[in-house]
């Protein structure tokens, strides 16, 4: 029996506002437990929420960046359920009139572009953190609650079940992360829980259209986890269906240690959330002007940027994709090429030596000691032939250490490339004279020996001889 996999993702992203959605407590991660709380986010008797205006602005930004229609009339609703990380035992969220609906984003998998529809984006508040006394929830005798995270603003991005497997799910998640970072509404640090996904997966017989029963996996917070959990689930469901069984609609959790999904089915009833319009908050009405103002202030998004770099700078799709992975990289690239430095070279250096050094020191591109301006200068020196690519690597390392301008370094270290024919000729002659055996070997038909001779020439010229000219002149003299 062959099955089609149908996957939908509900992505939760914490917004990088200074304060929580309904109160003035800070949203900073990692504070001492229960030190970023107040009567409002603790849900004490008598408290009332007040909406943080930045949250709405960020949510609209996200909606526009994901090609959604912004609902000009939007409101909050209460989602009622009991859980100890929810102080009020209801979550203030949005039910029937979310801030944005009917959008999409495009993903690239195996060279193909696929459009994934986005059903809706809504604002809601995050819950607190539970720390269990045992290693897992089931062998703990007690739990501890930290409310620092309660009330941190979230947007929930819900996709249509348009994804067809782990690869697409990962690509979708990566794209969402990229876009949210681009528009600067989230830190997107998955390890800090800024970005999490609930994954819904079901199978149906290949060629049919009716959706199978789905299982939901909650709170997957790494790309790898999403892929692994999906792969496992698909296998699990396939086995059940092949055996003639039925999939139970349930919530499952990913057990990293065991490498499997585990049912979270509780004895209690399936949740009837009893949504009601939040009586303590009034509706949000956004005008066309406001929406357009926010749209106008959006930065150039990854896809558009990629296309532009391919068209204007002649970058390959592969290179353009890497350069536009984050906005910081893309902006670095734009700054470096602003004064017409060679785009391809800039791209190569960014993907090569710059990336290597940044990763080695755990730095982000904004922390690079080699600024975009300096990299552009280096690239210009290569383009002009002042230094060879090989020498440039040495110069780059020096730039990384000192932050100095490449021209200065080249001058001080006397690294200017030798392009004078007479000078190179002189070195070539000298090397030929000093190495009769390799010369003989080459003339005898051993092509490899030329490499040795080139090496000696470069050594004698302290690497400064123009490699192309060396090759040409050497060949000319030997042949």
């Amino acid at each position: 029996m062959s099955y089609e996999t149908v996957v939908g993702l509900e992505v939760h992203s914490e917004l990088k506002t200074n304060t929580k959605i309904f109160c003035g407590c800070p949203t900073t991660f990692g504070g001492e437990q229960n030190t970023h709380v107040c009567p409002v986010c603790l849900g004490l008797p008598g408290v009332l929420p007040v909406i943080n205006e930045k949250v709405v602005e960020f949510a609209i930004k996200a909606g526009l960046a994901l090609n959604c229609k912004i609902n000009k009339f939007s409101k909050f609703d209460r989602k009622n359920y009991y859980y100890p990380d929810l102080p009020k035992n209801f979550q203030t969220s949005q039910f029937d009139l979310p801030i944005a609906e009917h959008g999409y984003l495009d993903i690239e998998v195996n060279g193909q572009t696929k459009r994934i529809r986005i059903t809706r984006i809504h604002m809601e508040e995050d819950a607190g953190k539970l720390v269990h006394s045992g290693t897992t929830i089931n062998d703990s005798s007690s739990a501890c609650v930290d409310y620092n995270r309660t009330g941190v603003p979230l947007i929930e991005i819900v996709s249509e079940p348009d994804l067809s497997g782990p690869e697409e799910a990962r690509a979708y998640m990566e794209k969402i992360k990229s876009i949210l970072e681009y528009i600067d509404v989230s830190h997107c640090k998955m390890e800090e829980g800024n970005l999490r996904a609930d994954v819904n997966v079901s199978l149906r017989k290949t060629g049919t259209t009716k959706l199978g029963t789905k299982a939901e996996m909650k709170n997957l917070n790494s790309f790898k986890m999403i892929e692994s959990a999906l792969a496992y689930e698909i296998e699990r469901q396939t086995e059940i269906l092949d055996d003639g069984g039925h999939i139970v609609q349930e919530t499952r959790t990913w057990d990293e240690a065991k490498g499997m999904t585990v049912s979270m089915r509780t004895k209690e009833e399936a949740n009837d959330y009893r949504y009601l319009p939040e009586p303590d908050l009034v509706p949000i009405i956004t005008s066309d002007e406001q929406i357009e103002a926010i749209r106008a202030a959006l930065p150039e998004l990854p896809d558009a940027r990629k296309k532009r770099l391919m068209a204007e700078c002649g970058l390959s799709e592969y290179d353009a994709a890497i350069i536009t992975t984050t906005r910081q990289m893309a902006e670095y690239f734009d700054a470096a090429t602003a004064q017409k430095a060679d785009a391809k070279l800039v791209a190569n250096w960014m993907m090569g030596d710059l990336a290597k050094n940044l990763n080695g020191e755990g730095k982000s591109i904004e922390e690079s000691p080699v600024t975009a301006q300096r990299l552009a200068e280096l690239v210009d020196l290569i383009s002009k032939g002042t230094i060879s690519s090989k020498i440039a690597k040495t110069v780059f390392e020096e730039m990384w250490k000192t932050g100095d301008a490449p021209e200065k370094i080249v001058k001080e270290k006397g690294l200017v490339q030798i392009t004078d024919t007479k000078e190179i000729e002189g070195i070539v002659d000298s090397v030929i004279a000093a190495n009769p055996k390799p010369v003989e070997d080459y003339k005898a038909g051993n092509a490899k020996s030329i490499g040795f001779l080139v090496g000696q020439i470069m050594k004698q010229s302290k690497g400064k001889a123009n490699p192309a000219m060396v090759n040409d002149l050497l060949k000319a003299k030997l042949d």
């Binding site: 603790l42 849900g43 004490l44 008797p45 008598g46 102080p87 209801f90 009586p279 303590d280």
Partner: protein, 489 residues
């Protein structure tokens, strides 16, 4: 000295004329409380030390020749569902028996800024759910006019204290009549402001779209002064109206000439007590004699108001009270696991009426019933509101009874919830529409129990309400009557 019998405005004059000191006044109230509280049981918590300290501070201020404002140094009581920092706020429930809020309600901050002497927290129906204060988890409050009778509810403690002389003024809260009805049952003035006029921040929520805090006082003058203090925009309350607060005391003028008074025929219900009808009609006549024009109006959706109210209020309450689960504050009953703890805590620490309303509200919101009950109730609310809008196109105020009967005996109604709910027929439509309503004494039953007149106004038109109530009040002596218990011994 029997200062406890006097309204706040008289005592204020006595303070500034140095006829009495705030400490003397406060001690007089303490003595009075000692005398009657055993029978009335209006208080849950008394804060004598803090009260005396405040009184001393006010006296020092007066001694320094500084001016004092209206309520400064005057003892009052605050309903125990309004959060007072550092002072137990129980909502008359075992669930919050030992809860001490770490913050003040906005109205308490506003009061503190003008230094009244707060004597303590007043008894109420548990979580403000009830019409007689019999649902308090601790004890019922007794009506100072007849100790066998209820003082009304849910702000029964606030009203009884003021009527008994154990407080000069009080704050109550009103969701379906809980200020107006106890005021009426205790011969006092009680005002439910326009929804949004007074901040709800710090008022333990019962029904968020209906709750309001308001004064219960001895006369309309005191009421206007207290309103000046507590009304106003609060940025911590998203449902707070951002409009200037007028000086309500400027409405203390005797003039109803040309005032158009609407009489909604649907409020003069068939089963209405004869004494109530007599008193109310008498009041209407007084207003007419003073130049008001009476217009009969119809508010055809009145008969649906109680159903709509009890569906909306309980739905919101079921959500508002979900937070009481033993996790981070309030009572906790240990369980085998957390769900067991939730269930045991809520079952043992909530009273029956609270549980009844939570279940009804949960039902109204539950899958399959939401449209027929909750959503339908919201639609009916629109119709009820439209009745008021239409009526106010023709008239300036509406005049109705407060309740079908005067105060009844403790125990009479409490075992029949439905019967209790039906008593709210005249008051709940006002909350559903969000308009302001005031209760002012307008007579007595044959056996001496007070009867109140309800005057309902246009949104944000507390001024006309106060003017009408004041004019009426000054035209008779009802507000001067003192409960037998309050008579000087």
């Amino acid at each position: 000295m029997n200062l406890f019998n006097k309204p706040a405005h008289v005592l204020h004059d006595m303070l500034i004329n140095k006829e009495i000191t705030a400490v003397e006044l406060t001690n007089d109230l303490f003595a009075r409380i000692d005398e009657v509280e055993g029978e009335v049981k209006a208080y849950i918590t008394q804060t004598r030390e803090a009260a005396l300290a405040k009184a001393k501070a006010v006296d020092e201020k007066i001694a320094r020749g500084e001016e004092i404002s209206f309520l400064e140094g005057i003892p009052g009581v605050v309903k125990d569902n309004i959060c007072t920092k550092g002072v137990k706020t129980t909502c008359a429930s075992k669930m919050l028996e030992n809860f001490v809020p770490p913050y003040n309600a906005t109205v308490v901050e506003k009061l503190n800024a003008v230094s009244p002497v707060i004597l303590g927290k007043a008894n109420l129906d548990e979580f403000a759910m009830g019409g007689s204060t019999e649902n308090s988890a601790f004890y019922p409050t007794h009506n100072p006019w007849n100790l066998d009778c209820v003082p009304g509810g849910s702000s029964g403690g606030s009203a009884a204290a003021v009527a008994a002389g154990s407080a000069i003024w009080s704050l109550g809260s009103d969701t379906g009549g809980s200020i107006r009805q106890p005021a009426s049952f205790c011969g006092l003035v009680g005002l439910k402001p326009t929804y949004g006029r007074v901040s709800r921040f710090g008022l333990v929520a019962f029904a968020s779209s209906l709750d309001q805090i308001g004064p219960i006082t001895r006369d309309v003058t005191d009421c206007a002064h207290v309103m000046n203090i507590i009304a106003g925009y609060d940025k911590n309350d998203s449902t707070s109206i951002n409009a200037e607060v007028p000086d309500y005391t400027k409405s203390l003028v005797k003039d109803v000439k040309g005032l158009k008074i609407g009489l909604p025929k649907e409020y003069f219900v068939a089963g209405m007590d004869a004494d109530v009808e007599k008193a109310v009609r008498g009041a209407i006549k007084q207003l007419e004699d003073m130049g008001a024009e009476v217009v009969e109006v119809s508010m055809p959706h009145t008969e649906y108001a109680i159903s709509a109210y009890y569906l909306i209020a309980t739905a919101e309450a079921s959500s508002n009270l979900a937070r009481y689960d033993g996790v981070s504050y309030g009572a906790r009953v240990e369980g085998t696991d957390i769900v067991d703890m939730f269930k045991k805590t809520r079952s043992e620490k909530f009273g029956q009426e609270v549980k009844r309303r939570i279940m009804l509200g949960t039902y109204a919101l539950s899958a399959g019933y939401y449209d027929a009950y909750y959503l339908q109730a919201l639609r009916v609310r629109t119709l009820v509101k439209q009745d008021f809008d239409k009526a106010f196109e023709k008239v300036d105020v509406l005049v109705t009874p407060i309740a079908p009967t005067p105060a009844y005996k403790i125990g009479d109604m409490v075992s029949d919830p439905m019967k209790m709910y039906l008593q709210d027929v005249c008051t709940v439509p006002v909350n559903l529409s969000g308009v302001p309503g005031i209760s002012v004494p307008c007579g007595f039953s044959d056996n001496g129990m007070p009867i109140g007149l309800q005057i309902i106004g246009k949104p944000l038109d507390e001024e006309t309400l106060i003017r009408t109530a004041y004019t009426f009040e000054q035209n008779n002596e009802f507000h001067k009557s003192i409960a037998p218990l309050r008579e000087a011994k």
